[in-house]
């Protein structure tokens, strides 16, 4: 575990020496606000991310979906890591709660909650303060493995 922390710190620190314009632009704007579809936060998420270094950020995303009487809450804290060029990866946890309302008498509906993780690989496009990300990966938990594809659009104010 200590070796992993040291490796991440060294990798993150090395990014500060990176003279690429895109990287410098990222570290001067630490805050990222975005909306995301079908990503780590479920169907329609809103997210916030803070860039600790040029290569590393911490974020959280959340969503609420109500469709046909079914409700789903999702929250996802995560680590965002720049891999070089337009590529990035994210690792994090997902907490979700699902409630199926009963539309009939004599049945109480159903609720369930769960926690799991996710890992994604993504592509990012930055223009000025605007950021567009597309990512794909897997989510996992007590229901097994599930594929996920997300697209996010945000800005660094």
């Amino acid at each position: 575990m200590r070796a992993l922390v040291v490796a991440i710190a060294l990798w993150s620190t090395s990014a500060r020496a990176d003279e690429r314009e895109g990287v410098r632009a990222e570290v001067t704007r630490h805050h990222l606000l975005y909306v995301e579809a079908l990503g780590k936060a479920g169907p329609y998420g809103i997210g916030y991310e803070y860039a600790i270094t040029a290569r590393l950020g911490l974020g959280t995303a959340a969503s609420y979906l109500r469709a046909g009487g079914d409700e789903t809450w999702t929250a996802s804290p995560y680590v965002h890591a720049w891999l070089g060029g337009p590529m990035f990866c994210e690792l994090g946890a997902i907490f979700a709660h699902s409630h199926i309302a009963s539309p009939v008498m004599g049945w109480g509906g159903a609720s369930d909650s769960g926690g799991g993780g996710f890992a994604t690989l993504g592509w990012q496009y930055v223009r000025g303060v605007f950021v567009v990300r597309a990512s794909g990966g897997v989510a996992f938990g007590e229901g097994g493995l599930g594929p996920m594809l997300g697209i996010a659009v945000g800005a660094r104010p």
Partner: protein, 286 residues
Amino acid sequence: MRRWLLVAAAGCGSVDDGTPWQDAASAGVELGPLPTLRAAPGCTLRIASWNVHGLSDPDDLVAHLAASQQIANADVLFLQETAQYPGEDQTRSAQLATTLAMTWAHVPVHLLRGGVMQGNAILSRFALDDVEVKRLPTVGHGQARFALAADVMVGERRVRVVDVHLEVRIQMTDRIRQLDPAVLEERAVIGGDFNTAPWQWVEGIVPLTSTEAVVGQNQAAVLDDYMASREFAGAIAPDVDTFTLAPFGMRLDNLYARDIPIAATGIERIGGSDHYPIWFDIDVCN
């Protein structure tokens, strides 16, 4: 584009009330003649259900049925996605039933491209009586969905059976809303293709696979819970696949009985359709 908009609307629109139960004649049900009894009725009645998607040729369907002794021996067979083709006098249900020396009730449901009329059917080695049809509540702009009901005359005994085929990409709340009017409050069997994919659907198009992976909430298990609240016991466990498309195995089909003991159950992993046929034996004397 229009088709996709309709598909999307199917997942998020309103739900109507469907229709009351209608008799066979007014609902356009095709009925077969009385079957020739090959043996005296016993206490055990085997009921099977199969969505025969992709098995349009009756001879091919018979060959696949014969591949499973369990299904070939069924006394009653619920079919979904059986059809009538343009230029043919009889439905494929009728052709199959005639080959198997069974009687039948076939309700046309949905007109496909090329003039093929898709439908649901009940085939039986015993006479069918009091055949009725109910159009189930339609979710958004989804397909019309029907429940086909009949009394199976097992000697002196009547067993009410209902064959259903529910909408595909709808939320569980809407699925219960669509099914509930067909769930009888009496001694009966209900079976068919409930289309209980394990996921919730975003706008009726995209399955929310990541949330399902995390939460592990399975629509099939929720359906069993709802049916238990109506005093129906199920034949197939929620984690048993009845849909053949790898890696998306899921239980879409089931058979339920109320006030009739289930003696045996099974699933036959035979090809031909993207569903496996399922069956159970019920004790009609008890």
